[in-house]
Each structure stands twice: as structure tokens, then as C-alpha cells.
């Protein structure tokens, strides 16, 4: 196939750009820096409230950081207010008792789907103390736009 010279240059440049994109992703992946929430763990959605992993919702803080146990339901998050320490890794563990929800901490890259039958998990660190809005970002029914919660990031007490 004969390709005109300018188009050949363009095609090479496009190819190099694509390889550069893929290399960037691969480097991030190899360094363990960039990973979307991809935890694989299942749970019976009918028994969430009695399952030992989710019976106690809320935040546990230890010296390493904090763990948040939360549940999505039509049309609220439990708990509706989450307090976590700043500058420390916070691990979120979430599931749903009914339909699929989203869990998005506005203004951060904290974002995961919350799917019944599965446990979502991701870890992130908040460097800016303050109040954050958490919204459901997957359509879950007629009051989807009201489904929200608060995240309060606090400076560690001295």
C-alpha cells in the first residue's frame, strides 16, 4: 500500500502518541500508583445488616489510618456523616442492600460503583481538611438526585 509522505508522518506521530499514552498508564500501573477500585469480594445483599463485615457501619481509626464501613440504599448512605482524619490513608468499604449506586466524594478522586452482591473497596488520603459532599452518581430510582452524604476531614488532634 503506498501512503503519501505527509500522511505517513501523521500516522507515525499518531502511533508514537498512542504508545506514549499506553506507556504512561503502564508505568503508573507498575508503580502501583494508579489503580481504579477493583476489589473482588462478594456478599449476600439480603443479609448485609447481619453480615459481620457490615453489621457495624461507621469509622474505625487506628495509628495507620482509618477504615470506613458504609452501606448504600435507596436513597441514602449509612452513615450519612463520615468523619475521617486528614493526611492518613482512609480505606472505604461499601456495599448496597438494593440496587446499584455510585459513591463519589466531590472534588476528590474518591469514586466507586456500589453494586449489590459485591464489596467495593478503595484507599485514599485527604490532605485538605474540611467538609466534602458525597453524591450517588449512578441512577438508582426516583429520588436518585437526593441521595447524598457528608464527609468531614479533620486535622489530627495533637
Amino acid at each position: 500500500m503506498s501512503v503519501p509522505v505527509y500522511e505517513r508522518i501523521w500516522m507515525r506521530a499518531s502511533g508514537i502518541l498512542i504508545v506514549a499514552f499506553i506507556t504512561t498508564l503502564a508505568a503508573g500501573l507498575a508503580a502501583g500508583a494508579l489503580q481504579p477500585p477493583s476489589h473482588v469480594e462478594t456478599i449476600d445483599p439480603a443479609k448485609v445488616w447481619t453480615d459481620p463485615r457490615f453489621a457495624q457501619t461507621g469509622v474505625t481509626v487506628d495509628t495507620h489510618g482509618a477504615t470506613v464501613i458504609a452501606v448504600g440504599m435507596m436513597f441514602a448512605f449509612v452513615p450519612g456523616e463520615i468523619r475521617v482524619p486528614a493526611h492518613k490513608p482512609v480505606t472505604f468499604r461499601l456495599t448496597s442492600v438494593d440496587v446499584t449506586h455510585g459513591f463519589e466524594i466531590v472534588g476528590t478522586n474518591g469514586n466507586t460503583m456500589v453494586v449489590p452482591g459485591y464489596v467495593s473497596q478503595f484507599t485514599t488520603t485527604f490532605d485538605r481538611p474540611g467538609e466534602y459532599l458525597i453524591v450517588c452518581n449512578e441512577y438508582c430510582g426516583l429520588s436518585h438526585h437526593l441521595m447524598s452524604a457528608k464527609l468531614i476531614v479533620e486535622e489530627a488532634k495533637p
Binding site: 498512542i18 494508579l34 481504579p36 469514586n111 452482591g117 452518581n137 436518585h144
Partner: protein, 540 residues
């Protein structure tokens, strides 16, 4: 009107009417998101309307338009009536019956599950059965297209496939491979579940099958638009196609690369390991390549046209192009908007970065540039060019047709860019109202949702102009001898012999092998895992 053209015309009219209905709903949605207190505004009506808009635009308008356009390409490029006209008509009626069943379920409020219909939100069985019939109808179309090609090939051994038909065959192959996923989801999981034959369904399995279908679906929309860009646009612009073999290569790359990328829609899903998401992310970047090549080849073809019309200098040829021709301006503006869509798409595909935009208003901003502009605006332009030729009538209200693409362009700029920005600010997509009880962060989205509403209003005006031109032409256009449907000639004489790029069976096999690599193992592991299904839930 040629008797054989009743088949494509029936499809095109269904597409155009579905588009008109869906555009009306979109206006209401754009105004609702700006928190305007209109008298009929309610969450129930809003989400019903989002469902109807998505299904009518993304599934009904596109599929019927592509089927109709495919028949035109088949009959005109191969210069013969289609094989199996009865099968073709059976496909039309099945798809129409399916559309009506799904529409009835949606409009009576029994299927407010949006066009992605993720379980365990459950719709009335008529919704799923209707969608299945629509897909089966489209399979009849695919079979007729392949059958017609095989008949032509027997009489023309060794001859290169006409380029437009080459592109439509790529579309058919992508569609057959893609619809396996949605057929499995709807027939095996959702129909028995909605009928109460099985109690539960696995939502992640359903999402995986949906997105196995959902991403190649966008190439099913895009490839016929590319057929217009490569084979109609240069002719209408008064020029020639810059490179025939590269155009062929592009369509083959889409056959191969379209499907094994679906996990990039599930980056934020639990239950899917990161390694498989990464593989699909890498493959997704591969698909940028044929679109990069298309950007060059089509732009170069336009330069050829501008210079053949006497344009000189570095950019002087641009001024000589027929900006007043509605096909030309539609496609040229669609290409400009698509450049933004491609840029955003690369960001969406970027694995980690996706977390910032996933399920935010950014996403609706993005796909209104791709399917809502690159595809929809191209199809509208194609209708201006094609309908008079099929009907044997003059285009009515030509002035409206001239300005309509420009209004779409401006409206889409307002709509899409404001949604990209509010998305980056964290506003979710698909919400009736962005107030969040007066939250301060949410209040920051307010000004831009108003810009988005203005965009929606302009898009609605543009769509209304399109409908007026189409209905005016169909009902009252002055009758005249139909002009022929003509295709662009390549700049350099094309190879008249069939090459490796015309071996469709071979490329389909390569595509299937890639699909197996990308999906077989993760699906097998998923099915062996201990899983808990979900019963259905009504959205209210």
C-alpha cells in the same frame, strides 16, 4: 420513487420520527437540570424522559437510520436489488414492533430504568422483549446485507468491494459480534428474571455483558458516519477521496479492535480485577489510531476539494468549500465537535484519571460530542442529501436546512462544554435537580447548568428545523426526477483487485480471537466465584 427504495425509506422515516420525539424530551431534561420550576416538572417525568430519550436516540434512531442507509449503500454500490427482500421487511416489522413494545413500557412508566437498564432495577418484561425484537430485526438486516454481498461477490470474483459497501460490511460484522453480549444479557438473564422465572440476577455479570455490547455499539453508530465522511463528503465538496486503501484499512481496524475494550466502562466496578481493566484500557488506546488516520484522510480530501474549486494558499482552500450545503456543513461541523469528543475519550480511557470523571456530567458532555454530534449531525446532513434522492422530491425549506447545522454546533458547544466543566467539578450525570439541599459545592454548578440549558434550547430549535425540513420534503416537496446517489472517486486510481483488506471472513475471525482473549478468562473466573444474585427493584 423507485419501488426498491421503499425499504430504506421505511427505515429512514422511523429513524427521523424517533429523533423528533427524543429531541422534544431532551429540551425538558436540559431545563430541569437548570432547576427551572416549570409546571409539569417532576422526578417521575424527568427519569421517564431520560429513559425514552436514551432509548429513542441511541438505539432506535441510530439503528433504523443505519439499516436504511445500509440498504441504500448495498443497492447503489453493487447496482442490484437486495437479496432476501422478504427477510429485510420481516426485520423491519420485528424491529418496529419491538420499538413500540419498549416505548409503550417506557411511556406508561413501567420501565424507568434508563437506556443502560442496569439490574437490579427491574422494568416490565415488554421493555426487554421489545429491545430483543429490535436486535433480532437488525440481525435480519445484517443477514440481508451479507447475503447481497455474497451474491455480488460470486459475479465479481477478485474485484475490490466498493468502498462504501466495504464500510457497511465492517459495520455489520461489528454489530453481529457486539450484539452477542446484549442478547446474552437480555435473553438469558433479564427476560426470565423480569417474568419471574428466576428470582435473582448477578448485576456485575449483567454490566459486563452490557458493556461487551455497549462499546462496539458506538462503532456501529460511527462507522456508517465514516462511510459518509469518506465516500459522500468529498464528492459533495467537489473533490476526491485522498486515499482509498487507507480508508479500507481504517474499517478493517475497527472490525478487529471494536469489541475487546468494554471493561473501560467498568473501571469503577467492584468484582472486576484491575489487570483485566488495564488490558482493556491499553486496547482502547489502539482504537484511537483509525480515527487519527480518518482525521487526516478526510481533511486532506477536503483540501483537495478546496483546491479543485480554485482555492490557493495555506488555508485559502477552506473558503472555497461549500459551507452553504447542508450535508457539507453538517459533516464538517460534526468533525470539529468529534475532535473534542476524541480528546475527552482518551481521558475517559485513562484508567486512573477516569475516577475524576466517572458518572459525572462530563460523560454526558462527552457522548453528546460523539454520538450526539459526530453521528447524529452526520446523519441529519445525510438525510438532507439522501431523502430528496430517494423520494424524487426537492428539499423543502432549504434555508432552514442551511442554518440548522450551525445552530446545532453552537448549541452543542454550550451544552457539551458546560457539562464537561460541571463534571470536573463533581456534578453527577442523570440527576433531576443538582441542588443537593442547598449544598455550597453544588451551588457552584448553578451558572453552568444554565449555560447547558441554553445549549439544550438551541439544540431543540435545531432539531425542530430538521424535522420541519424532513416533513416538508416528504409531504410537500416538489416532485422531480431523482438525482443519482454518487460516491467519491479516489484521488489516485484505486486498485481494482480485491486485497487482503477485502477478506471479511478472515478479519471477523481475528476479531473473535481478540474477543476471546479479552473476555473468556475473566468471565470464566467470574462464573466460578461464589456469587449472590439480586432480586428486582422498582425504581420508585
Amino acid at each position: 420513487m423507485n419501488r426498491g427504495d421503499r425499504l430504506p425509506l421505511a427505515h429512514l422515516w422511523v429513524a427521523i420520527l424517533a429523533f423528533g420525539a427524543a429531541a422534544g424530551m431532551a429540551l425538558m431534561q436540559a431545563l430541569s437540570r437548570a432547576s427551572l420550576e416549570l409546571p409539569w416538572r417532576s422526578p417521575k417525568l424527568y427519569y421517564l424522559s431520560v429513559t425514552a430519550h436514551g432509548v429513542l436516540m441511541a438505539i432506535v434512531f441510530t439503528t433504523f437510520f443505519i439499516m436504511g442507509f445500509g440498504y441504500v449503500v448495498a443497492t447503489r454500490t453493487m447496482d442490484r436489488p437486495v437479496r432476501g427482500p422478504r427477510l429485510a421487511w420481516a426485520g423491519f416489522w420485528l424491529a418496529l414492533a419491538g420499538t413500540l413494545a419498549a416505548a409503550a413500557a417506557i411511556l406508561t412508566g413501567r420501565a424507568t430504568v434508563l437506556y443502560t437498564f442496569y439490574p437490579p432495577l427491574m422494568a416490565h418484561p415488554a421493555f426487554y422483549i421489545g429491545l430483543a425484537l429490535l436486535v433480532v430485526g437488525s440481525w435480519c438486516w445484517g443477514a440481508v446485507m451479507v447475503w447481497s454481498y455474497v451474491a455480488w461477490r460470486r459475479e465479481h470474483p477478485g474485484q475490490a468491494t466498493p468502498l462504501a459497501m466495504h464500510g457497511m460490511l465492517a459495520t455489520v460484522i461489528v454489530w453481529f459480534i457486539a450484539t452477542i453480549g446484549v442478547a446474552a444479557e437480555v435473553l438469558v438473564l433479564l427476560i426470565p428474571w423480569s417474568l419471574g422465572l428466576v428470582r435473582t440476577v448477578d448485576p456485575v455479570l449483567a454490566r459486563t455483558l452490557f458493556w461487551y455490547f455497549g462499546h462496539p455499539l458506538v462503532y456501529f453508530w460511527l462507522l456508517p458516519a465514516y462511510v459518509v465522511w469518506y465516500t459522500v463528503l468529498p464528492k459533495v465538496a467537489g473533490g476526491k477521496l485522498f486515499s482509498d486503501p487507507l480508508a479500507r484499512l481504517v474499517f478493517v481496524l475497527f472490525i478487529v479492535l471494536s469489541t475487546p475494550v468494554g471493561f473501560h466502562h467498568q473501571f469503577m466496578d467492584p468484582g472486576v480485577p484491575a489487570s483485566w481493566k488495564a488490558l482493556h484500557a491499553f486496547l482502547t488506546f489502539g482504537i484511537l489510531f483509525p480515527s487519527f488516520v480518518t482525521a487526516f484522510t478526510v481533511t486532506a480530501s477536503l483540501e483537495v476539494a478546496g483546491r479543485m474549486r480554485g482555492g490557493t494558499g495555506l488555508l485559502g482552500w477552506l473558503k472555497k468549500l461549500p459551507w452553504g450545503d447542508p450535508l457539507f456543513s453538517s459533516v464538517a461541523l460534526a468533525m470539529i465537535l468529534f475532535a473534542g469528543g476524541g480528546f475527552g475519550g482518551a481521558i475517559n480511557a485513562s484508567f486512573g484519571m477516569n475516577a475524576v470523571v466517572h458518572n459525572t456530567a462530563w460523560i454526558q458532555g462527552h457522548f453528546h460530542l460523539t454520538v450526539g454530534s459526530a453521528v447524529a449531525l452526520t446523519f441529519m446532513g445525510t438525510a438532507y442529501w439522501l431523502m430528496p434522492r430517494l423520494l424524487g422530491r426537492e428539499l423543502e425549506l432549504g434555508l432552514l436546512a442551511k442554518i440548522q447545522p450551525y445552530i446545532w454546533f453552537v448549541g452543542m458547544m454550550c451544552f457539551s462544554f458546560s457539562n464537561h466543566i460541571t463534571g470536573l467539578m463533581g456534578m453527577p450525570r442523570r440527576i433531576y435537580d443538582p441542588a443537593y439541599g442547598g449544598d455550597a459545592v453544588a451551588a457552584g454548578w448553578r451558572a453552568l447548568t444554565a449555560v447547558s440549558a441554553v445549549g439544550g434550547l438551541l439544540l431543540f430549535i435545531s432539531a425542530a428545523f430538521f424535522m420541519m425540513v424532513m416533513l416538508g420534503t416528504g409531504l410537500a416537496g416538489k416532485r422531480k426526477a431523482a438525482e443519482p446517489v454518487e460516491w467519491a472517486e479516489p484521488l489516485h486510481p484505486a486498485n481494482p483487485r480485491a486485497t487482503l483488506l477485502d477478506r471479511y471472513g478472515l478479519w471477523a475471525i481475528v476479531a473473535v480471537v481478540l474477543v476471546v482473549i479479552a473476555y473468556a478468562y475473566p468471565l470464566w473466573v467470574h462464573l466460578r466465584m461464589e456469587r449472590f444474585g439480586s432480586p428486582g427493584f422498582s425504581p420508585f
